[in-house]
């Protein structure tokens, strides 16, 4: 397992490097000039040049990228803003906040949003999937499958806004979702604050998990070793959970890992709908403000989340199914 992790981590670093270079190039392809924003109303060419110098974007592209790279690995000194320690992702063009600080400050919101909604769609999705599989073909199966299908076709920004309007504003059942109450200080408020976004975000994923769980369980229930287990006299319940469920778990864990990796990159629509300040909201700001360091930071966070999710998923899959040998 260790060798597998080492090899895959090296691969991951390479991927992140390539993505960062690509983002750099793509940023400068766009016709907009980041310096104009900080140049004030009467923007004389001299001021513009000074701003470019301050932002460090007056050097040629490769030099800029090299400085950025050195910053990431060895830290970097900025005139006036002082030294930025080793994993230094630079300072945001607009508010000169350290990008790493912005991301670590926003990540807990995205993390709690992703994990929370993951719990919801796993419980509901897999739950209904199991019921549908056990009660295959009968009414309950049809209801469970179609209900989750309807759920997933709704759009966050409609359901979210309507839900928020009624649940928070009209009936005051739930407080307005906001991420200010950190988990540690006040878990109660944190939970109530994020309950609505969890439910709404989970809506989309539930159907996938219902359908997938149902088909995986139906398939593994028809496996020979399940029949052997019953031939050994084990009860239906034991057979279901110890054998059929174990067989179905592999693919579900894989998809779950990838989905969480995707969510950790920032659920932009959900964060916007509920006014949550997660990585998603940060990425919108980065794009709108032409903020290269912040953009790089956000893109790399999302990419890292997905790449790590992939590695974890492969490792977990090998734990579930002994037949798989990690290269």
């Amino acid at each position: 397992m260790f060798r597998f992790l080492v090899r895959r981590t090296l691969g991951a670093l390479l991927i992140l490097l390539i993505i960062s270079a690509l983002t750099f190039v793509l940023f400068y392809v766009a016709p907009r000039d980041p310096a104009r924003a900080a140049c004030g109303k009467l923007c004389t060419p001299q001021t513009l040049a000074l701003v470019r110098h301050n932002l460090g974007i007056s050097d040629p592209l490769p030099v800029q990228y090299w400085h950025w790279l050195v910053g990431v690995f060895a830290g970097r000194d900025y005139t006036g803003l002082g030294h930025c320690p080793a994993p230094c992702l630079g300072y945001s063009f607009t508010n000169h906040e350290p990008v790493l600080g912005l991301i670590t400050d926003r990540f807990p919101t995205t993390l709690s949003l992703s994990i929370g909604s993951a719990v919801v769609f796993v419980v509901f999705g897999v739950g209904t999937g199991m019921i549908a599989a056990v009660k295959q073909g009968r009414a309950l199966d049809k209801i469970a499958s179609s209900a989750s299908l309807v759920g997933s076709s709704l759009q966050i920004y409609i359901v979210g806004v309507v839900a928020m309007y009624y649940l928070s504003d009209e009936w005051h059942l739930l407080p307005r979702p906001q991420d200010s109450a950190g988990f540690t200080q006040d878990p109660g408020a944190w939970f109530k604050g994020l309950l609505l976004p969890w439910l709404v975000l989970a809506l989309i994923f539930t159907a996938n998990y219902t359908r997938m769980t149902r088909s995986q369980l139906v398939e593994s229930l028809s496996e020979d070793y399940v029949r052997t287990a019953r031939a050994k006299g084990l009860s239906r319940r034991t057979v279901f959970f110890r054998f059929a469920w174990r067989g179905a778990m592999g693919p579900i864990v894989t998809i779950l890992g990838l989905d969480i990796g995707y969510l950790l990159g920032g659920a932009i629509i959900t964060e916007e709908t509920f006014g949550l300040h997660g990585i998603g909201a940060l990425s919108i700001k980065a794009v709108r403000d032409n903020d290269l360091p912040l953009l790089l930071g956000v893109v790399l966070t999302a990419a890292a989340a997905i790449v790590v999710a992939n590695i974890v998923v492969d490792a977990v899959y090998a734990l579930i199914d002994p037949r798989i040998r990690l290269a």
């Binding site: 052997t228 006299g233 054998f243 174990r246 037949r323």
Partner: protein, 342 residues
């Protein structure tokens, strides 16, 4: 005659599918004594495997209706509750399958799977169950059983997996073992080893065995009595020698004629049974073999196509379901079967 250990009376198994009712087993009866082996032979679609699953009650109740009678030690399994069946399965009666790799769980070690059955029926501790598993693995001839007990099925070779499955089936010393084509997927040398193993275990444990296969050679080697199935029905029964040396039913002749032998004449072509196996959705009327039977028109009044011949059983359990008279059978058998030595 004391009551037979296992007796199946007029067993019918039918599946409801989208295209209609599939009558896989259509009135099958047989008995099995303690310590003896009944060979059930038949081609695919003859209903042999369905019978096994019916005995263990493993059919899906919604889509299958099973009726008739299956008495195990006097107790009718068809009316037993699921809980009662669970107590019997793996304890009093157990089953081994053709493809051991698919039939053993890939997620659990061999030792755990064997121990599981033992613990379920004897309430033994995990430690005792493990010791029992090692013991059983040694008994079925697996080298270094104390090491291999912690291996997974995919780490075993074909032959060893089959042995592990047998160990699992016999761990609670069952009185009845149902074997569904256990050697078909094995190479001939390994197949021989497994058959020897089953015969030794039968002597040692006195287990009654129902051995299902399509290979008459395997039947000849292991079965005491033989039952030939075609289209969900029994067409011929008797002891091994009776059925193999003096077969009465044209289908049995056809099977024997289709098999090349190691020392028979070579230049004479095989005499196969023409046509295709019967469809179970709308089986042929009357005797289900009549469309492929070379002697159907020999029976006057074309009764083969109209009414299905009953299985007449004489005293010794010998029986055939065919309208041909005994005289006609003797005469046709002689010129049909190629000259068989001895």
């Amino acid at each position: 005659m004391n009551t037979p250990f296992l007796s199946v009376r007029d067993l019918r198994v039918a599946f409801s599918t989208e295209d209609g009712l599939v009558r896989a087993v259509d009135g099958l009866s047989f008995d099995l004594e303690q310590g003896s082996t009944l060979g059930i032979v038949g081609e695919s679609g003859s209903g042999k495997s369905v019978t096994n699953l019916a005995i263990l009650g493993l059919h899906d109740r919604e889509h299958t209706d099973v009726d008739g009678e299956i008495l195990l030690d006097g107790k009718d399994l068809l009316t037993a509750t699921e809980r009662e069946l669970e107590r019997l399965r793996g304890n009093t009666m157990s089953m081994i399958f053709q493809d051991a790799l698919a039939s053993l769980s890939p997620f659990h070690t061999v030792g755990r799977q064997i121990g599981e059955t033992y613990r379920k029926h004897t309430g033994a501790s995990r430690h005792e169950a493990r010791a029992r598993s090692v013991e059983m693995l040694r008994r079925v001839g697996i080298p270094q059983p104390d090491l291999r007990v912690d291996d997974y099925p995919h780490q075993f070779s074909g032959g060893m997996r089959q042995r592990a499955m047998i160990a699992m089936a016999l761990v609670c010393d069952p009185e009845l073992l149902i074997a569904d084509e256990p050697t078909t997927a094995l190479d001939v040398t390994v197949q021989a080893q497994i058959m020897d193993l089953l015969k030794d275990l039968q002597q040692e444990f006195g287990t009654a065995i129902v051995f299902v296969t399509h290979d008459l050679g395997v039947i000849a080697n292991i079965a005491d009595d033989v039952l030939v199935m075609y289209g969900g029905r029994c067409v011929e029964r008797g002891t091994r020698n009776q059925v193999l040396r003096t077969p009465q039913h044209p289908y049995t002749w056809g099977l024997l004629g289709s098999m090349p032998s190691l020392d028979g004449p070579v230049d004479v072509p095989l005499s196969p049974i023409p046509g295709l196996p019967p469809s179970l959705l709308n089986p042929p009327s009357g005797c289900r073999f009549h469309p492929r039977c070379a002697f159907a028109e020999k029976v006057h009044g074309g009764r083969c196509a109209t009414d299905s011949p009953p299985l007449e059983i004489n005293g010794g359990g010998r029986g055939t379901a065919c309208h041909l008279t005994a005289e006609q059978r003797r005469e046709f058998f002689v010129d049909y079967a190629t000259p068989q030595p001895n």
